[in-house]
Amino acid sequence: MSAPLITEGGSLISSLLAALALGVGFGFALERGGLGNARKLIGQFYGRDLSVLKVMFSALLVAMLGVFWLGRFGLLEVSALYVPHTYLWPQLVGGGLFGAGLILAGLCPGTACVAAASGRIDGLFVLLGILIGMLGVGLLLRRFVAFFESSAHGAWTLPELLGLPYGVVVAGVVVMALAAFAGAEWVERRAR
């Protein structure tokens, strides 16, 4: 038996239950990492506390190495995983807006859920803002559809872009992450 255990076209209820279990696990990890606190998140932008970088990059590293080695040992069918499509300019603009929102609110969607679930009023208000934003985008999307679908690159991966074997890219990202962790620790030490 190999993953993914829930395939496309499988029962919706099993997908929803899996999403709930993963969401609870992710939320728990965020809360234990202290990322339900807007002050901690905003410390990132002042160079005081780079926990967000360290936690998120650690999660990325675990997922990347997990996918690679589970696939390598025949426990995961890597080709069955969905790769989100790249729309270069819309995603760059979206990323910029997301970053601006993160600085302004001190929380991102995941951490806003964690903050709200742990009883923080600011988390509730950020969630409300996110829901209003989603509604607004849904209502106005037709006006921006040309931009929304521009600079499409399909399911584009780093190994394809760089023309390098998948494993070499994995090793490169690991080195990059460890350098980022060391750099973050150095920045935090200087800020103290």
């Binding site: 696939g71 399909g154 399911a155 494993g167 460890l178």
Partner: protein
């Protein structure tokens, strides 16, 4: 010497990353009793002596479509086959190794290999290979060879523009 937990985790991550670079691909390497769709296609094209491709699927599926030169298991009397025959068995996806053992034990020791990924892999890798038009030169060179092989079997290799949506049924749920 006391090892800090963070340093230990960093070392584990670094080791896993470096080993990934050595391993190269995230797919399990072919086992001794497996053959890739591309290798099987080359063997069929080159008319490899004593190659016998056997379709393990139900008869109605075999009648609808089968790999070139393949014969349904029911059409054969394995006991009467040349003991030097090179058998390749396949199904829709991977064939369970137990099936190989069952065939082997019933019909004597023969060279039996499983087609990795079955009919699905044959379609994806041999009949309908796809390459992005912005792929690097080495990938394009490899694709040209595959395209030749694909056309030999009546396939239709495609080079797609980066923005062209692939015809895939998968859709992303959630975010």
């Amino acid at each position: 010497m006391k090892i800090n937990a963070r340093i230990l985790l960093a070392l584990i991550g670094l080791t896993a990353g470096m080993l990934a670079a050595v391993a190269g691909a995230p797919q399990r390497p072919l086992g001794d009793d497996e053959i890739s769709a591309i290798d099987l296609a080359r063997a069929i094209r080159d008319r490899q002596p004593r190659l016998l491709v056997i379709d393990l699927r139900p008869v109605d599926a075999v009648e609808t479509e089968r790999l070139p030169t393949a014969r349904a298991l029911g059409e054969l009397e394995l006991q009467r086959l040349d003991s030097a025959a090179q058998l390749v068995v396949y199904a829709d996806r991977d064939v369970d190794p137990d099936v190989i053992e069952a065939v082997r034990s019933q019909h004597g020791a023969r060279s039996i290999r499983r087609l990795r990924g079955g009919v699905q892999a044959w379609k994806a890798e041999v009949l309908f290979p796809i390459l992005r038009s912005d792929a690097v030169e080495s990938q394009q060179g490899e694709f040209r060879k595959r395209a030749q092989l694909s056309r030999y079997f009546g396939g239709s290799p495609r080079v797609i523009e980066p923005g062209e949506a692939l015809e895939r049924s998968r859709s992303r749920r959630g975010c």
